[in-house]
């Protein structure tokens, strides 16, 4: 399979909005998200000859895996994962357009970091569960169970809110 600049441009247009949205939600900082986005693409291009489309893993999930590692490296440099702080982070990250979506933002705060990551990859990155399993390096069954539990937990939260 050969890729030229036009193919990459198409991939950029398709994946970047999801990837950028994911990074903004993870890092809580749009400027930092742009930096990580750029680094992720550069690393992907650099390592592209080594990428093999195997077992259904897509270029998209591979790119998200690189982005996750970049975030980890960033946290390693700063010493820890930084949770959202409205005084230093971009406030509009949690400014959803409708009331329902604002409610989802609130629910997200109640989830564990692992479950939050799962939800991000599932709904912002729009990745299928088997590819999420590859990114998180667990079995697809584990991911299905975790997803199910997360939704059950969200259901309980919703029930309590009503």
């Amino acid at each position: 399979m050969f890729l030229n600049k036009d193919d990459i441009a198409v991939l950029w247009d398709t994946i970047t909005p999801k990837l950028y949205g994911y990074l903004v939600h993870v890092l809580h900082d749009k400027n930092l998200a742009e930096d990580v986005l750029q680094t992720t693409w550069l690393k992907a291009i650099e390592a592209l000859p080594n990428f093999k489309e195997r077992a259904g893993a897509s270029f998209s999930s591979w790119l998200f895996a690189i982005a996750r590692n970049e975030c980890k490296q960033h946290w390693r440099k700063v010493g820890r994962e930084v949770s959202f702080d409205p005084t230093i982070h971009d406030k509009e990250i949690f400014n959803s357009k409708t009331e329902d979506l604002i409610f989802v933002d609130q629910i997200m705060k109640h989830l564990s970091s692992k479950d939050r990551e799962l939800v991000r990859l599932r709904y912002i990155a729009d990745l299928p569960l088997n590819e999420i399993a590859k990114i998180l390096k667990v079995s697809p069954i584990t991911i299905r169970v975790r997803m199910h539990r997360t939704l059950a937990f969200i259901k309980i939260i919703l029930k309590n809110q009503q």
Binding site: M1, F2, A9, W12, K30, K52, A65, L151, K155
Partner: protein, 341 residues
């Protein structure tokens, strides 16, 4: 009732809401596309693929070498750094004797012993000191050793040295041996110092000297008594003889006897003096320590081998294990990216 499908739809809607393009999307895209080489191919193989478990064979080799070498050989025998003290009883061979020179220094002779009376429990221990020093600078160490030996009131009998080896033969007073040993050990450190001490009771020699002296004194006494007897007999004969011829003959005989006995006494006195001199030499010999120090050059590899417990090859593998593991650990994140498929 809230259904999963509804929650799923809600989150899908939330996810779509979060999707956005960066503010500098066009600039970023242009920059990324500019970095793409013309011949970019997904099927292109990279020549180097790092083995993430490279540290494992190193660790295994280190363990294997350690176990095999440590169990097969008596590795780094500690006698190298321990004192070997040998003591022996009365072989009767002193270092100054001809026998010593012909057969060399007597080692501990546990089987062949001159019969010595058990009642005589005196000790005349002759101590021999041998040391081996390992150093990076043989010539410099030899010079320093000579200064130390003279500083301890000793005497350097012979010395030689080259780039790799050296040797010093010396004598020092016995009462300063302990301080001397400490000084020498401090020069190179305990790990590079190997000493061997041997001592031997020269009671047999002492007894022989005493016996000779006793015999000489006895002989001298006998001669002196004999002389007195000759004088007494001569005086009696002179007083009893009336004839002048007899008296002349008696005087002649007396003079001859006296001359002979005086010669014997003189000879015996000389022998006694010689024995006393031997006794003094013997005591001087016992009061000193004959020593020799060998100097050997040591390589950095050997130094490392001395300091590290166990076989050095195992340590080399162990070090390789740590380096490869650290390398893997610190570059694992980027490697995971490359390996993702």
């Amino acid at each position: 009732m809230i259904k999963y499908k509804k929650i799923d739809d809600l989150f899908e809607s939330w996810g779509r809401d979060k999707v956005e393009v960066p503010l500098n999307n066009d600039i970023l895209k242009k920059e990324i596309l500019a970095k793409i080489p013309d011949d970019l191919s997904l099927n292109k193989k990279i020549s180097f693929k790092r083995n993430s478990y490279i540290w494992f064979p190193f660790a295994f080799s280190a363990m294997a070498v350690f176990v095999i070498l440590f169990n097969t050989f008596d590795y780094k025998n500690n006698t190298n750094v321990q004192d070997i003290i040998q003591t022996g009883y009365g072989t009767g061979i002193s270092q100054n004797s001809d026998m010593y020179k012909s057969i060399g220094a007597p080692s501990v002779d546990l089987y062949h012993r001159e019969e010595l009376p058990i009642t005589d429990n005196r000790e005349f221990l002759k101590v021999n000191y041998n040391a081996t020093l390992r150093t990076r600078n043989v010539i410099d160490l030899r010079n320093r050793l000579e200064i130390i030996i003279r500083g301890f009131g000793g005497r350097v009998d012979s010395s030689n040295s080259g780039e790799k080896n050296g040797y010093i033969n010396f004598v020092i007073p016995k009462d300063r041996l302990d301080a001397f040993k400490i000084e020498i050990e401090d020069l190179v450190g305990k790990k590079f110092y190997n000493e061997q001490l041997s001592s031997q009771n020269l009671l047999g020699d002492k007894q022989r000297i005493e016996e000779n002296q006793k015999q000489a004194e006895k002989n001298l006494g006998n001669l002196q008594a004999e002389r007195a007897q000759i004088i007494r007999e001569h005086n009696q004969n002179i007083s009893s003889y009336q004839n002048e011829v007899d008296i002349i003959n008696e005087n002649k005989s007396y003079q001859t006897k006296i001359n002979n006995i005086d010669l014997s006494i003189k000879s015996m006195q000389a022998s006694l003096k010689k024995i006393q001199s031997q006794d003094k030499n013997f005591l001087d010999n016992v009061a000193t320590v004959n020593g020799s120090i060998s100097l050997n050059w040591i390589s950095l590899w050997e130094m490392a081998d001395i300091y590290l417990p166990g076989p050095i090859l195992a340590w080399v593998f162990f070090l390789a294990t740590i380096v490869s593991f650290i390398w893997y650990r610190f570059t694992r994140v980027s490697y995971d990216i490359l390996d993702f498929s």
